[in-house]
Every structure is written in C-alpha cells, then in structure tokens.
C-alpha cells in the first residue's frame, strides 16, 4: 500500500497543487485536506504548503493556526506523525508552537524571489534522511515574512541539539538569526523551512535542479520502513 501524505489547503494557500505533485512524483499518494476538516483521512504524514493563509492578516499563520484541521494536526504531530511546513506552513508551525521562535518581516522589507543555496545541517529528521549532513542544495525562495527569530537561549538550545536543519549559504536573504532557514522539533518528526523544495522536483522546470525531491523521498523511506 502506498503511503498517504495529506496536503492542507487553507484559504489563501498557493502551493498545495505543487506540493501534491511533488508527493506524487516521489511515489507517494497525495491526499488533499481542507482547513475546516477535523478528519485527516488516515494520512501517514502532513505537509502544510506555502501561500498566504487568511491573507497573512494579524501575523503570517496566526489565524490558520486555529483552524479545525490544525487541532488534529497538532495532536498527531505531538504523537509522532511527520509534519512538514514550507514557507507559510513554517509560519503556521511556529504559531502553533510545534516549532520554537517566530517569523517576521524580512529585514530589508522587500519580497524576495530567487534560487537559494542551503546547507543541510541535519540529515536525521523524517524529511531529510535522503540528504547527507553538510550537503549543499539549491531550491527556490519566495517570501516577505522569512526572518526567523528566537531568544538567545532557544537559539543556543537549537544549535546544541542539532535542531537547525538548514542554513542559508552565500548571503542571508532576510536577516534570519544565525542564518537559519529551517528547524526541527526535538523528536525530528516536525520540520519547517522557508525555501520551497516542492518547486524543485522536476528537471524540466525552473533551474532544472531536482534538489527538493529528497524531502519527499525521505518521507517515503521513513513511512515504508517504519
């Protein structure tokens, strides 16, 4: 049986179709999930895709955090289900406190859209097992609220426990503290990052690189072997 990966659509989500496609290309079954749905339809993992849920009103991810689907996602994530938050999904994960810290307006106040080089710092999470620690990848980055902040104690804790999963290379695009592009929770099942691996899974599209595919093949391996 193919592993099922839920992809949540909130009002304002943009990248749900690309994410479903990436899931399918990796050999998994994408399952569309609606924000008002409390039922996760027996999925084995969930992706919170990019976009501007609820128009980013109040704060990015603040309103969607209280949607019915998130109640169940939070519960399941705490029970160990793999959850990946990309861009707006990462913002939602910090608002839920499944991941520490918060996302703020880029330090230069501009929307940024470019290919971004990253270093994979942690290849032991549910979503990064198909990478190697220290590996450099390039995936698209597009956001205006991408500045990761947390207090010094939290940052030190993340570093000490190896929970910084990705760091920006060749220049920090948004003022994120310690060049952090993505982090994980202590258990390694919840991962959030600002750049978009789902936009780099087909050689014919964009830069021609498929560096993002590893996220989705990692979760396939994790779900099949566990």
């Amino acid at each position: 049986m193919t592993a099922r990966v839920g992809v949540v659509t909130f009002p304002g989500t943009l990248d749900d179709r690309d994410t479903q496609r990436a899931v399918r290309i990796a050999g998994l079954e994408p399952v569309p999930l609606w924000h008002r749905d409390k039922d996760l339809h027996q999925v084995d993992a969930v992706v919170l895709p990019g976009g501007f849920s609820y128009g980013d009103y109040l704060r990015a991810g603040a309103i969607s955090r209280f949607s019915p689907v998130m109640g169940t996602v939070i519960e399941q994530a705490k029970a160990g289900m793999p959850v990946l938050g990309i861009c707006n999904g990462f913002q939602v994960l910090t608002e839920t406190h499944l991941l520490p810290g918060a996302m703020l307006r880029n330090n230069h106040l501009h929307f940024i859209c470019r290919d971004q080089k990253l270093r994979v710092e942690n290849a032991d999470t549910a979503w990064t097992a198909d990478y190697e620690a220290g590996q450099e990848i390039s995936v698209p980055l597009k956001n205006i609220d991408g500045r990761y902040v947390a207090d010094e104690r939290t940052l030190d804790e993340l570093e000490a426990e190896g929970r910084v999963v990705f760091r920006y290379l060749d220049g920090n695009p948004n003022g994120s503290l310690r060049d952090i592009a993505g982090i994980t929770n202590a258990a390694g099942n919840v991962v959030g990052l600002m750049p978009h691996p789902e936009h780099a899974v087909e050689p014919l599209i964009g830069t021609g690189r498929t560096d993002g595919l590893g996220f989705f093949t990692s979760i396939l391996k994790k779900l099949v072997t566990s």
């Binding site: 704060r59 603040a62 209280f66 910090t94 810290g101 918060a102 703020l104 106040l109 902040v149």
Partner: protein, 84 residues
C-alpha cells in the same frame, strides 16, 4: 458599549525594520529630532455587556493567545471608555 484597547508592540530586543524605515524618512520630510521609531498594532474592542474583571480576564487571554505572539511581542490591555 465599552471600549477596551489592546496595544501590541514588538519586544524591545526584536529588530523592527518597518519602524526604522519610518524613522529614516522623517528627516527627509523635515521632521528632525526623532531618535527612534517602533511600529506596533492597536486593537479597539467594542465589548458587549459590562467590562468587569471576568471580561477583562477573557480579553487578556485573547490577547495572549491570539492578538499578540508573546514569543516576539508584548501587549497591554486598558479600558478606554466605560460602558453606560
């Protein structure tokens, strides 16, 4: 109806580039002597019924869980206009 105001501000140690952009614009516009600007949010809540301790406690909880993200923001709650 009574009005309760919730002011939300980024914590002092968090960089506020929007406030900085405003501050940099001031001298250009002829407004001198402003050393720093921080930009926040103000919520005006029109409250049904009396603003008693219980109502204020609910508003405090609302501010703490939703209106402000206490990882990065501080907030204050005050009654601006008592109900009749």
């Amino acid at each position: 109806m009574a009005r309760v105001v919730v002011d939300v501000m980024l914590k002092p140690e968090i960089l506020d580039p929007q406030g900085q952009a405003v501050q940099r614009a001031l001298p250009r516009l002829g407004f001198e002597g402003i050393a720093d600007v921080r930009q926040g949010k103000r919520f005006e809540l029109e409250v049904e019924g009396p603003v008693d301790d219980a109502a204020l406690a609910r508003i405090h909880e609302m501010a703490e869980t939703f209106l402000a993200n206490t990882v990065i923001e501080d907030f204050t709650v005050r009654v601006e206009q008592a109900g009749s």
